[in-house]
């Protein structure tokens, strides 16, 4: 981007972000279902449930967005989530009781367990220089295995009643599901940290060029450890929330959670090559599969089609990212859609 480039207004900048284009896709999908089955699909009650079911994935998505912006990956989140839920449940069973005291102990234990796995991931990635794919593939197996060892593979179903009634199925500010409210808090905090703080800028810098970041004096190792710790800690939060929602540790579940979250992050415009991405995009990326599944079921289409549709969206999203990177390397600015139409875009097209 040259210095002489005309100053872009905030609206044009928003429009150019992939997250915004993907938002249009989400809105389009929503409108189609609303037209087809408006009185069933486009209701407050239905949207509440969609938000509730996407909430836990959204919290995982915040951590994953940070990790992928550093050009890393965290495959372990589903297992860490199960492990943390198991630790939380064990602590609460040992403590006994159905009140908030027990619940807070469980929450603290679960988050601590997640954080611990995140630190392990971070140290192995940053200090031992093992590729994140391998590190988190290893901890994926280890966390799940240990969860099964601790429970002997038997799900724990004793969850304090307050957690189920107030968190799992409670409401925040009127009619918003509590889970969605909690997720919103994490999304806002995550967005502010990523986009408005030095920590966030360093995350982008490391993802863009780790060596350059190191040379200008960023503490890259420490930063990477912190980023993986955030992802692990958020998996801990997700673990205890899942416990509140399902009232079981669901050890056999979550086996595809990591891939679902990664897909959402990537659909939302975060580049697997690092340095690019938004929390907002991740949220939109999460809602596309969620709304597709919900809408397909309400309209009465085989749910298998949802996987086909999400897979296609994912591939298109990554292709768009590739085009943008190729254009950026040639020094031109990105105009992905005109590239798709086979035209070269230049920075002063408008």
């Amino acid at each position: 981007m040259s210095v002489q480039a005309p100053p872009t207004s905030i609206t044009t900048r928003i429009v150019r972000v992939q997250a915004f284009q993907i938002l249009l896709v989400l809105i389009a999908i929503w409108v189609v279902f609303a037209i087809l089955e408006g009185d069933r699909f486009a209701t407050v009650g239905n949207m509440r449930l969609v938000a509730q079911n996407a909430a836990i994935l959204a919290i995982l998505g915040v951590g994953m967005t940070f990790v992928i912006i550093t050009a890393g990956i965290d495959l372990s989140i589903g297992s860490v989530m199960v492990f943390s839920g198991v630790i939380g449940a064990k602590v609460m069973v040992a403590q006994g009781g159905d009140g908030w005291g027990t619940a807070w102990l469980g929450i603290a234990a679960s988050v601590a367990a997640g954080l611990a796995w995140g630190l392990v991931n971070g140290v192995l990635v940053a200090k031992a220089k093992i590729p994140p794919l391998i590190v988190t593939l290893g901890t994926l197996g280890m966390a799940l295995g240990l969860a099964q060892i601790i429970t002997k593979g038997v799900d724990i179903r004793e969850v304090p009643l307050v957690m189920q009634s107030k968190i799992g199925y409670g409401n925040a500010f009127g009619d918003v599901p509590m889970l969605a409210g909690i997720a919103l808090v994490f999304l806002v905090v995550g967005g502010v940290v990523l986009h408005l703080t030095r920590f966030g800028r360093h995350t982008y810098a490391i993802g863009s060029n780790e060596e350059a970041a190191r040379r200008v004096g960023l503490k890259v190792d420490r930063h990477l450890i912190a980023v993986y710790a955030i992802s692990g800690g958020l998996a801990g939060v997700a673990g205890i929330l899942s416990l509140a929602q399902f009232a079981t540790t669901a050890i056999a579940g979550q086996s595809q959670t990591n891939l679902n979250v990664i897909a959402a992050v990537v659909i939302g415009g975060t580049s697997l090559f690092g340095g690019v991405g938004t929390i907002f995009g991740t949220v939109v990326g999460l809602f596309i599969p969620a709304v597709l599944q919900n809408g397909f079921i309400i309209v009465g289409i085989q749910p298998f089609w949802q996987q086909v549709a999400v897979g296609a969206v994912l591939i298109v999203a990554v292709y768009v990212d590739q085009l943008r990177r190729a254009a950026a390397q040639r020094g031109g600015r990105t105009n992905v859609l005109s590239r798709l139409r086979g035209r070269e875009s230049t920075s002063n097209e408008e």
Partner: protein, 325 residues
């Protein structure tokens, strides 16, 4: 704002694609009279012969009674996958839901919510902690099935000996009951020694490991009761790995094509078949009765059939599960 319009164009293209897909999906469901009842069937897992046979029973009975059926199911027998499906089905406001809950506690609240929304809920095959909201619960007499499995082993090994149960996960009401029925029946017969229940987590490889380890410890096991499809598959593999074919009798539960093949091959010596089609048709009857304001039966138990190599092509032919209707 060229780029905005292009973005909108892309969005419109997606809208068109989703729309046309949705339109062809809903076309086969549309067109019925407004008073025909809508029944949604939510399977425990999609693509499983047990639930497909149940679906066949449901569809046949619904056709007879003039109701329309849509079927949905999660890819895995997993409450975290089934809950969003239940929520979406509830949002589509069917008149009744026939559902096989995947977890006794996780599915409690979502199904209670469905009932609170005025939908008649019939629990088929599995159940939840507090099923009082359901108009009816229909399942196999699983304890009876477990007892039948013991009878089958007794016939295969009349001299008695050690017997083992390979189950899936504790907390799944149906398989727990099968194991209990088997255990109680074994306890009544002093010539048999019950070695307990092992859990395979529904993984054939895990079941195989359990069985090879158990045969290391007790090489004189005469019978293994595998409480479901994958446990039976794995148990048979485990016996083959230990080189004990012909010495250990495996009695499987359910009679899908895979199990029937195992029976014909001789890896499994007997099968206990449930009657999923009957569960399905009874479920539809109860749902319709509830919608018509008639009285319903709170619990219904369906029977089971012992299938062996000798009767698989004869008397027990209809007990074998279907892979499509």
């Amino acid at each position: 704002m060229k780029r905005t319009s292009r973005g909108l164009a892309a969005a419109a293209a997606v809208a068109l694609a989703v729309g046309s897909l949705a339109a062809c999906g809903s076309s086969d469901g549309g067109g019925g009279g407004s008073d025909s009842k809508k029944i949604a069937f939510i399977q425990g897992v999609s693509g499983d012969e047990f639930y497909i046979t149940m679906q066949c029973g449901i569809e046949a009975e619904a056709k007879k009674l003039g109701a329309k059926v849509t079927t949905q199911g999660p890819e895995k027998f997993d409450p975290t996958q089934q809950k969003p499906i239940v929520d979406s089905v509830v949002a589509s406001r069917p008149d009744a839901i026939l559902v096989a809950p995947t977890d006794v506690s996780a599915m409690q609240a979502p199904l209670k919510a469905a009932s609170d929304a005025g939908i008649k809920v019939v629990l088929v095959d599995t159940t939840v902690n507090d099923p009082s909201f359901a108009v009816s619960q229909i399942s196999s007499d699983n304890e009876g099935g477990g007892a039948a499995a013991f009878e089958a082993i007794k016939e295969l090994a009349p001299d008695g000996g050690k017997v083992l149960v390979v189950s899936t996960d504790p907390g799944v009401s149906t398989v727990d009951a099968r194991a209990k029925g088997f255990k109680d029946a074994a306890a009544k017969d002093s010539s048999f020694q019950f070695l307990g229940v092992q859990y395979s987590h529904n993984e054939p490889t895990q079941a195989a490991k359990i069985v090879t380890a158990a045969l290391q410890k007790d090489p004189d096991i005469v019978g293994i009761f595998a409480t479901n499809v994958f446990s039976a598959e794995g148990s048979a593999t485990g016996i083959r790995q230990a080189g004990k074919q012909g010495k250990v009798n495996v009695v499987g539960f359910d009679a899908g094509p895979a199990q029937v093949k195992q029976l014909r091959d001789g890896t499994v010596q007997a099968l206990i078949a449930q009657q999923p089609d009957v569960i399905g048709s009874d479920g539809v009857q109860q749902a319709i009765a509830a919608l018509d304001g008639k009285s319903t039966k709170k619990t219904i138990q369906t029977g089971s059939t012992i299938i062996t190599k000798d009767n698989v092509d004869g008397d027990a032919k209809d007990a074998v599960y279907q892979s499509s209707c």
